[in-house]
Amino acid sequence: MPTVKVVTLRALLTAAGFSPEQISSALANGLGGSGVWRLCTPVGEDDDLNGSKLFKSIKKYVDDDEKRSNFLVMLTAIARAATQQDYGAVLSNSVVTAKPAYKFNYRNKQHTVLELKHGKKDRIYFYPEKFCGLPCIVLLLAHHKKDQTTPKEVTTYCETTMKAHLASISDVSIT
């Protein structure tokens, strides 16, 4: 049974190598409080965030100060956007763009993987979904692109994960 786990900004920033002081400073303005949308990520049976694809991708790709800065801006954007039902309205005409990265067909319907973009190459891939009636922004992967195309490793993982959720959406549990 697929499981998604709620993630805090503190956990995401820790995985990206921010110090506790820097995290406290970044979150000092009330960032990371409650919202309409939950930020979460798929986890395995062990329910361990550190073993999730998202956290592994953060550790792999968010590995210098410029990437960390871009990553923090994107997280700030999505966390503020998550406080509003229409999260896209918060992001429109802003320094962070949210746009379709990849589309695929499943059960006669087109589904879209979205990307948050800040800087030329840094991305966070996600998709919005309701699990058990709860609105969730499912963070899938962080990535530092080498060229303009969305890499195969990203599209394959995102498509497989979304299909697993869509196949049994009422059975996806949130922890």
Binding site: P20, S24, S34, S69, V73, T83, G133
Partner: protein
């Protein structure tokens, strides 16, 4: 800690945090505007500036002056609060338990009750001599301690 050490830490933090601080302020104002159903043109009219100016302020990459921040807060009929706290003190909102929009709660409860009933009914169907309906009601009452309407 010496001033030199603190200066080093500040420089490191500035590299990491300054872009996010600018963006966060803009997103905070935009969220307020959405909640109050205000457009850039409304803010521009209230402040006597052009909508393009407001759009630039709210893009999230500008180092806005204190005057501009206060003007934006005034346009939203809000107070701008500047606080100084120890750096290791957690924000009171950080990691707070997520609370859903109250309008969603009813739907969620109904949906979860439906899922529970469906699962119990399916497992009851696998037991050939059990009555699925009574099984469902008994199982549901056991967990919720409340009567659950079936069908």
């Amino acid at each position: 800690m010496s001033n030199a050490n603190i200066a080093e830490k500040i420089a490191a933090s500035r590299r990491l945090l300054s872009a996010a601080r600018r963006a966060d302020t803009a997103f905070l104002f935009k969220s307020q505007m959405i909640e109050q159903n205000l457009k850039n043109t409304d803010i521009a009219a209230r402040l006597g500036v052009s909508p393009a100016n407001v759009s630039r302020w709210l893009r999230g990459d500008q180092n806005l002056s204190l005057d501009t921040l206060h003007a934006l807060a005034d346009a939203l009929q809000r107070s701008l609060v500047v606080q100084c706290r120890p750096v290791d003190e957690r924000s009171h909102t950080e990691d707070e338990e997520w609370t859903p929009d109250p309008s969603l709660v009813k739907g969620v409860i109904e949906h979860c009750a439906y899922r529970h009933l469906r699962k119990t009914a399916l497992s009851a169907r696998e037991k050939p001599f059990a009555s699925p309906t009574s099984e469902v009601v008994r199982e549901s009452n056991k967990e919720n301690d409340e009567p659950v309407a079936v069908g």
